[in-house]
């Protein structure tokens, strides 16, 4: 079954409504996206290279509703949400399904030179600024991205002006709340102008009792010259949730970018990281953590393209898969012709904690140049029986030893996070996740 048609048909039948619920700058790219989708004809499935273990077509196939007419929500989910990351004072924005809701702390506390608001609002009020970036990092010829561009009506716009260094982290909480099967096309645009500094934490939740949900998400990040951008993403959804997230980042000279994505609980997730290093003397840290149990499926895909000299990049992706969960990692480093003195490393390490868990790993290096230092490696194994026995001889019960080892395995991924309170919090969330508790929701009023 071709899952794409239902969405293109929906768009063609409701063009006016889609446009009316959005802004001209966003609407302008829709015809081109539709053309691209018609040309490509389908969403990727397991027959496509890079998608061996995850069929995007199957994720989009169910009969999801799309909230084209921007109907408002029956309850005020946003007001009941409390942040589960203590000691981290954030500027909080909430996205319920595909609708952005600023909070009072956000509106009142934004420093000069910083914009955090609804993307549609920004596109209406500052069209020239949004137009300069929107859709320029994302690949228009990519089916998933084109579909997002076709249908997304709103999202989040984060802009940090030249030389502005934002000390407080911005937090975005994505919440699914729907009484009917729902697809939300979410869009995020993060622009850090030259010399700017910004850290964004995004948390994905699904409220209990919600129907099947699918997130189509495209994130574009621009790090200007000498800018420092941190992007953290923690998914704590549930088995009814599918997520296709595509992140596109562009780095200018002297910039640094830290990206860390964690999947703690989910249904089916595909995360893509497309990072383009365009300027010299850059630093890039890309990491990911996946914790699977029951029948969770987590797929991470990365393309880190060094298009300039003197770039340094590190990729680290780790998985612990238990029960019947499955994982996939496909990552590549590409050093383009002429990009000399690049140092690029990639590591993927996985633990299969049960006989039924499965991992697919495919690291790749493409080097079109001399004078570079690159390496990649992948290992998949079991928990260390020797360590487990050693711990047991000290009286630590086997189950607890197992948990401690699984948690210890994730330590270096957590260490890639620069925000210290977030690091502490994530450590705690991971501990609880391995203890079998729903990780971060104890203090949270949203009732996810």
């Amino acid at each position: 079954m071709n899952a794409l048609n239902q969405y293109t048909d929906l768009y063609e039948a409701n063009r006016a409504a889609v446009d009316a619920g959005s802004a001209p700058v966003l609407n302008r790219l829709r015809p081109e996206a539709l053309d691209a989708l018609k040309r490509i004809g389908r969403l990727p499935d397991k027959s496509d290279e890079g998608f061996e273990k995850t069929s995007v077509n199957d994720m989009f196939a169910p009969d999801f509703g799309v909230n084209i007419n921007r109907m408002s929500l029956p309850v005020d989910v946003a007001s009941s949400f409390r942040c589960g990351v203590p000691n981290l004072s954030t500027l909080l924005g909430i996205m319920v399904n595909d609708r952005f809701m600023p909070t009072a702390t956000l509106v009142g506390n934004l420093p000069q030179g910083v914009t955090v608001c609804s993307l549609a609002k920004a596109a209406a009020e500052q069209p020239a600024l949004v137009e300069r970036y929107y859709g320029t990092a994302a690949r228009a010829d990519n089916a998933g991205t084109a579909l997002n561009t076709l249908l997304s009506q709103d999202g989040i716009f984060i802009h940090v002006g030249k030389g502005v260094r934002l000390d407080k982290a911005i937090q975005i909480v994505d919440i699914f709340h729907s009484a009917f099967p729902l697809m939300a096309a979410r869009r995020v645009l993060v622009v850090a102008e030259d010399g700017a500094k910004v850290a964004v934490l995004k948390c994905d939740h699904t409220q209990t009792g919600s129907e099947r949900c699918l997130a189509s998400e495209v994130i574009e990040i621009f790090a200007g010259r000498g800018a420092e951008v941190e992007w953290y993403d923690i998914e704590e959804s549930d088995g009814s949730t599918s997520r296709y997230s595509q992140l596109y980042a562009r780095q200018e000279g002297g910039s640094s970018l830290t990206v860390c994505g964690s999947t703690l609980t989910n249904g089916v997730t595909r995360n893509e990281y497309h990072i383009d290093v365009c300027g010299e003397h850059t630093v890039t840290h890309l990491s990911g953590m996946a914790i699977g149990s029951s029948s969770q499926h987590i797929d991470n895909f990365s393309v880190l393209r060094h298009g300039a000299c003197h770039g340094h990049s590190d990729q680290l992706f780790k998985y612990v898969l238990d029960e019947r969960s499955t994982g996939a990692f496909e990552g590549s480093i590409e050093v383009c012709h002429g990009s000399r003195f690049v140092e690029a490393y990639q590591s993927n390490r996985n633990i299969l904690a049960s006989k039924d868990a499965r991992m697919h790993s495919k690291p790749q290096l493409l080097i079109y140049n001399d004078d570079v230092k690159c390496s990649h490696g992948a290992t998949t194994g079991q928990l260390d029986e020797k360590a487990m026995f050693y711990m047991q001889t000290r009286g630590i019960p086997r189950e607890e030893a197992r948990r401690m080892l699984m948690q210890a395995f994730m330590a270096d991924v957590i260490d890639t996070i620069a925000l210290e309170p977030l690091r502490d919090r994530l450590r705690h969330m991971v501990e609880r996740r391995f203890a079998g508790e729903k990780a971060g929701c104890r203090d949270c009023g949203a009732g996810c």
Binding site: F389, M391, R394, M404
Partner: protein
Amino acid sequence: MSDEILLKVTDLRAKVEEKEILKGINLTVRPGEVHAIMGPNGSGKSTLSSVLAGNPAFTVTGGSVEFHGIDLLALPPEDRSHEGLFLSFQYPVEIPGVSMVNFMRAAVNAKREYFHEPALSAGDFLKLMRQKRAIVELDNKLASRSVNEGFSGGEKKRNEIFQMAVLEPRLSILDETDSGLDIDALRVVAGGVNQLKTSRNATIVITHYQRLLDYIKPDFVHVLYKGRIVRTGGPELALELEEKGYDWIKEENL
């Protein structure tokens, strides 16, 4: 010495994969005693300690082990520890990502839970760590490091005795604790063991060489050869072995 029996091993047999390593071990240990088990390479010394501690890599094929009246072989390794058995590893395992502090806290509190006692408060726990560290002169800095990771050979063995001091076992098995130690470290480690010795607990020292027995004085010396204890004597047996080597035992047991 007392009439009470702490450990009674009767005709213990064990194999790894399809190879029988222990072929009928008999051994009785009473509180307050120090036993040395010596023997050439491959005689089954480390297998004996692994089997007593419950290493799943070995299969017990016969015999019994009674530990202060309890059927030791019926217990998982963690419960053997709670009941008072401690194995000091020949090669202590490195556990990256698990800090010494968390490791010891988990160990101490698991034992307390087994005996239905509440977990130690943070203050009491740190006090306990401080006291026990002093016994083997273990550096405080190691507490925040991952278990055994990057420890020197001497630090690893001191760390074993430190753990023994914290867990206060009734029977400690020291498997080749002298291997990889220089003479100063050996003194510290042996000093720790001797400090922890009481009339109520016992120690089994497994070693190749007589050297360690200069520091930890055994009451009994057993020679293990081809999976059996072939000779038992007093401390003088260790000296005799040192002088004559193991060939003499091998010839006797052809």
